[in-house]
């Protein structure tokens, strides 16, 4: 798993790439949380999933965990560009109702 990021205005962009499963999640969880903490006070975080080649339900738990952390800082969370496989899981689990899918 790889995590890159950028900051544009009031938005934090997190770019996930690789395969997200039980094995790879702990490392990316720690890195994402550190980034969120360092950028607390921005208005929103956008998780760009374009590079995510695989994700199972571990990804749902991961995203909900980050959503809760962002919420504590009053920051909104958005998802962008999931591949078809990830998109199917995200839609099935209803995640888009709390972290909308956007095109940016």
């Amino acid at each position: 798993m790889n995590l890159q990021w950028s900051r544009r205005g009031e938005d934090l962009y997190l770019y996930l790439s690789g395969e997200l499963d039980e094995h790879s999640v702990s490392d990316v969880r720690a890195r994402a949380d550190r980034l969120i903490d360092e950028n607390a006070g921005l208005s929103r975080a956008v998780f760009n999933l374009a590079g995510l080649k695989f994700m199972d339900s571990t990804g749902i738990g991961f995203l909900i965990g980050r959503y809760k952390r962002l919420k504590r800082y009053g920051m909104g969370m958005y998802l962008a560009h999931p591949e078809a496989g990830a998109d199917k899981i995200l839609a099935l689990s209803g995640l888009y109702s709390i972290m909308p899918k956007i095109q940016e």
Binding site: E22, H23, F54, M55, S57, I64, G85, L92
Partner: protein, 145 residues
Amino acid sequence: MNEMILKFPARSENEVFARNAVAAFALPLEPSLSELSDVKTAVSEAVTNCIVHGYRGKGGGWITLTCRTEGDALTVEVSDEGRGIADIGMALEPFFTTAPSEERSGMGFTIMQTFMTDFRVESEEGAGTKVTMTKRFGQGQANVG
């Protein structure tokens, strides 16, 4: 008809190996990319369950993965000799998890049921759990493989 049996330790680093081995085994059936993605995800869920639930607190164990192709169908069995499931009905409920503090989503069985054509789980407390699931290829959109 073709068959494969894999046995490997219940360690999370084997999740990627297990799902890709099943995907490679299924290739002669010419699944679409979307069907292959469904199978990989379902296998990953089943193997993860063995690791994080089946052998929880037991210091490890073995996972047996059996695959069979017949006609246009792939059948996968994933079994452990772990703790077993106390209440299968509850375990199958979407979003039910015994480990909410670990950011578990409780969606594993729901994904297996949704992504595969047939799904069955058998479990005995203290003896282990076996998930059997079948994917019939070519049921949806045209194959791209």
